[in-house]
């Protein structure tokens, strides 16, 4: 029995090695992440077609995966309808040179393992996937290497610096500025306007309390670069605390710690029930007027209002805002998004950043694919061509300026943002600083 087992195991090990060796060659090692290349037009892999191609009968598939059943579901669920409605409208308008665009979605439950499963499923269904849209920082970080290896463009709302600029990444592009940039940008603004926005009893110096989720997303704004930037601004981080990723999380201890440490600004890198927990607890403690509460862009959304004990608690929240909002009705892209929303009879709860951003994301994807087809031709269309197109098109403004994208100069996240402040009920996200360039704190590898 023992001899048989030993023989069987030896055979299996040998067979494994033979089978591994028999599999198709691996993609090249990832140690050299693809840096932005020269504009594709200079080095086309084939002669560009002379006129617009007719791709009638062809299908171009976009993929996206996000959290429908986990902690981020409150904000990601409307993304699906945003994407579906945008693709439907795109096809009604003729698709991409006549090619029908389809979109496939997978729920990853906010779980990295499931996101990888979705990635594997999509890549096994399609020999030539071009673009995958994702939402979580953890997912973006874990998959960054695979996207670069397989040369698939990842457009993501998970704005972790590591996903964009970590070792082996290179195909991950942001729908917003990375979180360290957002923190630095907001603190820049507060430094310059401290007298206007500081709490009544605060001193002249900004003392920051970083109270956030203990996750890749929650801790995503605090990097060596952002710490150094804040130090240069003379801002001291006096308190760092975490709280549970839960709608019932208690932040009172963290708030009291911040108060004891002399903080006058709270930054939370969270969304939906994340900022709501802090705002609710600040009001419950009667300390709301002692702190400026600032957060990442996702915090300023209707999803946050769903968790506020009183809508008035949201007033005063400050965040970077790297896109337009539904109330900016003078913008053609916003008007278009509103038309889609109305035409498809979406519910009021979906009138949020997720829907808006996915319509923008689909427009961005379609423009990049179109540009890539123009450059290398449909027969040579692949993820690498789309990657190069995004760089070549930069700077550009998806959906008539709903967002300002710029992936040139090695950057893979936008550099322009507004700052907004809640000054009233839901939707009253008032611009307190118009579009300006944000600090560039991309990490050294």
């Amino acid at each position: 029995m023992r001899k048989s087992l030993f023989a069987l195991l030896t055979m299996l090990m040998v067979a494994s090695m033979i089978l591994v060796a028999c599999k198709p060659a691996a993609p090249p090692p990832t140690e050299a992440p693809p840096e932005p290349t020269a504009p594709p037009a200079e080095e086309p892999t084939a002669e560009p077609p002379s006129g617009p191609p007719d791709l009638t009968g062809e299908t171009i598939t976009l993929y996206h995966f996000g959290d429908l059943s986990g902690p981020y579901a409150a904000i990601t669920a409307p993304l699906i309808h945003g994407a579906e409605d945008a693709v439907k409208a795109l096809n009604e308008a003729g698709g991409i040179y006549g090619a029908t665009v389809e979109i496939k979605f997978a729920d990853d439950g906010g779980n990295v393992d499931e996101a990888i499963a979705a990635y594997d499923r999509f890549t096994s269904e399609d020999d030539n996937p071009l673009i995958m849209i994702s939402y979580g920082s953890g997912e973006a970080e874990a998959l960054a290497g695979r996207f670069a290896e397989d040369k698939i463009v990842n457009i993501t709302a998970g704005l972790s610096a590591k996903a964009f600029y970590g070792e082996g990444s290179g195909y991950t592009f942001g729908l917003g500025p990375i979180y360290p940039d957002q923190l630095a940008y907001t603190m820049d603004f507060l430094s310059e306007n401290w007298d206007t926005y500081k709490p009544a009893e605060a001193g002249d110096e900004i003392k920051l309390a970083y109270i956030s989720w203990p996750t890749a997303f929650g801790q995503g704004a605090l990097t060596d670069e952002s710490r150094a930037y804040l130090a240069d601004l003379g801002i001291e981080i006096v308190s760092e605390d975490t709280y549970d990723v839960s709608p019932t999380a208690d932040t009172t201890t963290a708030i009291l710690n911040a108060q004891a440490a002399g903080a006058n600004v709270i930054w939370t890198n969270t969304l939906a029930f994340g900022p709501a927990a802090i705002l609710n607890d600040l009001n419950a403690l009667g300390l709301r007027d002692q702190f400026v509460v600032a957060s990442d862009n996702w915090a300023m959304d209707l999803a946050t209002y769903a968790f506020l004990a009183d809508p008035a608690y949201g007033v005063g929240l400050i965040t970077p805002f790297p896109y337009l909002w539904w109330t900016d009705t003078d913008n053609a892209g916003v008007q278009y998004t509103q038309q889609l929303f109305d035409a498809n009879e979406r519910s009021a709860a979906e009138h949020n950043v997720g829907y808006m951003l996915l319509v923008t994301g689909v427009d961005m994807a379609a423009r990049a694919i179109t540009h890539a087809i123009d450059t290398v031709g449909y027969e040579n269309l692949n993820g690498e061509a789309v990657h190069d197109a995004l760089i070549d098109m930069s700077p550009f403004e998806p959906l008539d300026g709903v967002m300002k994208a710029d992936y040139s100069d090695g950057s893979r996240s936008p550099h322009m943002s507004q700052i907004r402040m809640i000054q009233g009920g839901p939707d009253a996200f008032v611009v307190i600083q118009d579009w300006t360039e944000i600090p560039d704190l991309r990490p050294s590898k």
């Binding site: 195991l9 090695m17 691996a26 429908l68 579901a73 669920a77 997978a106 096994s124």
Partner: protein, 353 residues
């Protein structure tokens, strides 16, 4: 179960009496099954291979929990945290010290085992519900440690990227390649777990589980065997954590969480506690349920767009919870027991006695 052997099958030696697989045709069947698994990348899609990969790694973690909970009766909700320990140790050894994965994985298993020992210490003083709570501490302390200790090395909540295993220049960087690692390790851990359950150690575990006072009166050192069970469970978790981290290529404090620990326990209940087949059946069923919920979600949304968003959030826990509840009510001994009954019924056919 000896009475349920096919007619005419007798043991003629001690070796045949101890054998797990008695018939030549059973060997061939097993070999064919293993070969079919190893050949999976040649005939199955990448997503199927990736799913089998995940199931394989999960089975290893649940096998460890089975040694602790199924055989020794010590309930633990910390198995996923020991995976975290194993994953981090392996990742750091490979990334920072340049160890090959194949040396780092055993070291990670050993390291996780030592961590498991620490959290097993309360098992002498407390049991049942209280021990469950004590093991739950691991699920909070270990992730906290990885988030807050040695930030320059562990990189806080952001976690660390993990290199893919390389052997003789071959990178295990796709599910089609990784599955050979997973399957080989799974076969080894299955053989070891099976043999542990048949050894003096396994019998001591069962004695501790069935009646600890009686076991102690028989000369079994409770503390020693309970700690050994914790150590082995954590070793298995360490192996699974190492495999998973290198497969995911990233690890942070969230990669293996409390939900995973609860799921492992559920898998064990569904598969069958105290049976070597239990972890295999349980992991397959639960992973398939999760996969089903994942695939069903978007379909549900397209069918019921106005009401689906909230409902889909509940699908995965709903599927898992319903399966767990049904098994607890109708088959508390799990699928492994059902499989024994099925085999017995088949062998006795057409007689039911």
């Amino acid at each position: 179960m000896a009475v349920l052997r096919p007619a005419g099958e007798f043991d003629t030696s001690y070796a045949s009496d101890m054998a797990t697989i008695r018939q030549r045709w059973q060997w061939w069947l097993l070999l064919a099954f293993v070969v079919a698994l190893y050949a999976l990348p040649f005939y199955a899609s990448q997503s199927v291979v990736a799913l089998v990969n995940r199931i394989g790694i999960t089975i290893i973690a649940v096998q460890g929990l089975n040694l602790l909970t199924g055989y020794t009766g010590q309930i633990s909700l910390g198995q996923a945290s020991f995976m975290t320990a194993g994953g981090y140790i392996s990742a750091l050894l490979v990334n920072n010290l340049g160890w090959p994965f194949f040396a780092a994985m055993p070291a990670a298993a050993l390291g996780a085992g030592i961590v498991g020992l620490l959290f097993g210490l309360p098992s002498l003083r407390v049991k049942g519900f209280y021990l469950t709570m004590a093991t739950l501490a691991a699920q909070f302390i270990i992730p906290w440690f990885t988030r807050n200790a040695f930030p320059k090395v562990l990189n806080g909540a952001q976690g660390i990227n993990v290199q893919v295993p390389v052997l003789f220049g071959i990178e295990f960087n796709t599910p089609q390649r990784y599955i050979y690692l997973t399957l080989t390790v799974l076969i080894l851990t299955t053989i070891v777990a099976h043999n542990i359950s048949r050894s003096r150690l396994g019998r001591a575990f069962v004695a501790v589980r069935d009646h600890d006072l009686a076991a102690e009166l028989l000369g079994i050192n409770l503390f020693k065997y309970k700690l050994q069970a914790f150590f082995l469970a954590a070793v298995y978790a360490g192996i699974a954590g190492s495999l998973a981290a290198h497969q995911i290529r990233h690890i942070n404090s969230e990669t293996f969480n409390l939900i995973d620990s609860v799921m492992f326990m559920g898998m064990l209940v569904i598969g069958g506690l105290g049976s070597n087949l239990g972890p295999i059946f349980g992991a397959i069923v639960v992973e398939m349920l999760i996969e089903g919920a994942t695939l069903f979600g978007p379909l549900f949304i397209s069918l019921f767009p106005s009401t689906a968003a909230g409902a889909v959030q509940a699908l995965r826990p709903l599927f898992f919870g319903a399966a767990l509840m049904l098994f607890l009510i109708f088959e508390p001994r799990g699928l492994a027991h059902r499989w024994q009954l099925f085999k017995a019924a088949w062998r006795l056919r057409p007689f039911s006695y």
